[in-house]
Symmetry: C3
Subunit: 346 residues, 3 copies
């Protein structure tokens, strides 16, 4: 599919301070990095360090910081902005809107939709989707191919389920929730009582509740609560292959990178960040704005507003120091041996 975004659409979307070069009536045909851009592509320059790459680049439209003393080549348009990264992201949104154009509303004849579901007429339901009784889907949602929505789920307006997403029963999504392919919300929490040599299943009878503007990555799993809901707060972003166990309560605007795992009943306050493989044991509270580095594991409550590393989690600076000292252990052992032999000699 050919991309073509007219310049005036770009100028409407972007907060630019000034522009240089040729405006014409042209269109962007794509976006690319400075070095990979072809004629017709838009790109951006983050700093004057990239002046040489810019000189060589074939890009037709360049977004750059207002202060940079660079000039457009023949046929090039420069848009000078305060925050190149943010403004370029807006431009990419224009391209993305064309790439993932909202499919027309309607229910595929190949979908299996309960007559007892309430579905806004603006909703798109694609092929091989199953929707059970009691489901309510708000305006402008897109339910992608092969997705499964079990009984009594509620979806706010503008949600997008890519392909093969499962929402188990009673899952609630806010507005504009975006879920990538293969994610599973509302599978049973992992709870058992050990009785007479066997693990007896503890029924998981609560649900998952997701706030507005949450994004959930491919093949991520968010388990339903046992007695109280598992909650994902507004604006939180969850990457691929993340595991959120039953009864977790995740605050607003948190970031959970790929392969993060949260054990049961853990609370993350707002603006918490877990880098890749970071994890938390169960029944803990991670304070607002805490940031866990990659592989950092919380085994006790963590105070908010701080950076942590290591397992068990400790302040990041302390962890980094210990990592360096650990590497110097061979030397330390030698020094101690030397001290011992010296003392002996004495």
């Amino acid at each position: 599919m050919e991309i073509s975004v007219p310049y005036n659409a770009v100028l409407d979307r972007i907060d630019y301070t000034s522009f240089d070069g040729e405006l014409g009536i042209r269109s962007i045909t794509g976006v690319a990095s400075l070095e990979e851009a072809k004629t017709g592509d838009a790109t951006f320059v983050a700093s004057a360090n990239f002046a040489d790459e810019l000189e060589k680049s074939a890009a037709s439209l360049v977004i750059l910081e207002e202060g940079l003393e660079l000039q457009p080549k023949n046929g090039q348009l420069f848009l000078r902005v305060k925050s190149p990264a943010i403004e370029f992201a807006k431009l990419c949104e224009l391209v993305a809107e064309q790439m993932w154009m909202r499919p027309p509303p309607g229910i595929s004849p190949l979908a299996d939709v309960s007559p007892a579901a309430k579905i806004d007429p603006s909703v798109t339901i694609e092929a091989f989707v199953s929707i059970a009784e009691g489901v309510e889907i708000g305006p402008d949602c897109v339910i992608g191919k092969g997705s499964v929505i079990a009984a009594d789920c509620k979806l706010g307006e503008g949600c997008v389920l890519r392909s093969r997403v499962t929402l188990e029963r009673d899952t609630v999504l806010g507005k504009r929730v975006r879920i990538h392919s293969g994610a599973v919300l509302g599978a049973d929490g992992f709870g058992y009582e050990f009785e007479k040599g066997r693990h007896r299943k503890v029924p998981q009878v609560s649900c998952v509740i997701v706030g507005d503007d949450v994004e959930i990555g491919a093949n991520a799993t968010i388990d339903r609560g046992r007695l109280s809901p598992t909650r994902i707060g507004e604006g939180t972003k969850i990457d691929n292959l993340v595991q959120v166990a039953h009864n977790c309560v995740i605050g607003k605007h948190c970031i959970l990178c790929a392969l993060v795992g949260l054990a049961g009943s853990t609370t993350l306050e707002d603006y918490v960040v877990f880098a890749g493989y970071a994890a938390s044991a169960g029944h803990l509270t991670i304070g607002a704005g805490a940031q866990l580095a990659g592989e950092c594991v919380a085994y006790s409550d963590l105070e908010g507003g701080k950076k942590y590393g290591g397992s068990p989690a400790m302040p990041l600076m302390a962890y980094q120091r210990i990592r360096i000292l650990t590497r110097r252990l061979p030397d330390l052992f030698k020094r101690v041996t030397q001290l011992e032999s010296q003392l002996l000699k004495d």
Copy 2:
């Protein structure tokens, strides 16, 4: 869907010693934690520490330990039991049975079922399920939406596949196996021979065999064996996003928490527990009842009946001690430096 479990059904299911309060002919309309319970809900009290919360709780039915000297409020029913957690789990089962009521038997007209499959008439097969030739499915199984069962799989009675489960060919499930959405059993083991600069695929021609009462989490992956089957023993419970590689043999009643990974040909004897991210290298034996803490990794055989931590796995107590000492490394370096300068001075 409204939940309504009559009190007499509750009394039939639970082993109670005595009850206090009003029996009437009422029903439970839900279960909840002490603080979240509304009128109509059942809850439980684990210890006298929760007396205050109980006082404030609106719960209609309360399960509590027989010894606790607490009395029901007006309209409340107390069931006194030996093991509140276990008895409350049974009550939750009653609710869960209503929530996930067995769908009526029959094959969805939107399923694709080989005429050469043998399917008990009591089986439920939902929409967009594919079942290949040679498959045998025992009584009372439920094959959830979008699941794929390849050739020659055998399922014992009472198995439940939630949505979008894949069983690759020759997979064998015992009785009452429960598999959550997105799990894949029987994908090829990851085996290659390096030959002339390329990785040549080693065919994986065995299968996966799963015992009775096993539960497997969402998006978990259990690979088929190369020459001999990958085996999951009776009563073992596997959480979300767990990887079990080819030829592993897992014993009975083991617990594998989320994001655990077992490399190829490893044996877990009975009652082994792997906490989150715990892992094992290949071709090892983990003895019966061994418990690996979170992130613990076995790089050699582990004796049964013990707790382990760290990587490589060591006895948990030793590991905890080393973790503490590691944090004191900055101090140790200082002490050694001091000793050195003192000796020099001397």
Copy 3:
């Protein structure tokens, strides 16, 4: 399904030096390990250490190294070869070809295929598959049940998608790419700009490009690039539950074991190996032939041709030494305390 591979097919496929025993007109009915083999099965012997097991084995056909001084029993056929493992793998391929026999070409009447897709007549498209406009599928591909191929994807000849694979739009597969169930290629990269207290999505408008002969495991996730493609080089093998983030460029013939995670924009040169849970931070280069042990995490560029362990990654030998010394910390603390008290005494 009964397996039956005639001996002459075996002799055609395998590079044998000589054979001993009875050739007849028999067939192999399966492959198995030495101890599990039944009459009719083929097996292999890696070294003379297995002479006793061979003596007890019921295997009908045995592949063994040419130098071994072992003799066939009555009714047994021995094939002497240079590399038993490689030749046995070839024999297993014969069995695998029967087990996963190429389904007949054609589009299932239960698939949903855009008339604007170009599909070679030799392609097999199974039930509940969705194929969007602009897709091109080369000869002899098999698109397994429930898979989703979004707009403008291109698949080279001989690709196999097992069940429930998602290729998001613009994904390009080379020839003979094999993708296991539940894998997702081309989901959005995980990129946000933090603006006014919220995470603003950075559109991910590039794609995923996969080279020839790549294999990708069950429930693995390979995200689309932001501005430039995420690339997987020819012959690279990726295990289950691996995460490859946006803009990664993976070279040829690399190996990524289960639960590996690569953060964004990381480059792996050719022949790199990541064992289980090994990982890389973003924007790094891992040199050709570098091998990361299990759990090893690269936080800076790594030179090629070396083995690494630990986090942050260090040369494997150094890491192993440090692991040993770490275990001896309790002793070291004691020794330092002793030195201190001795000095004090002095």
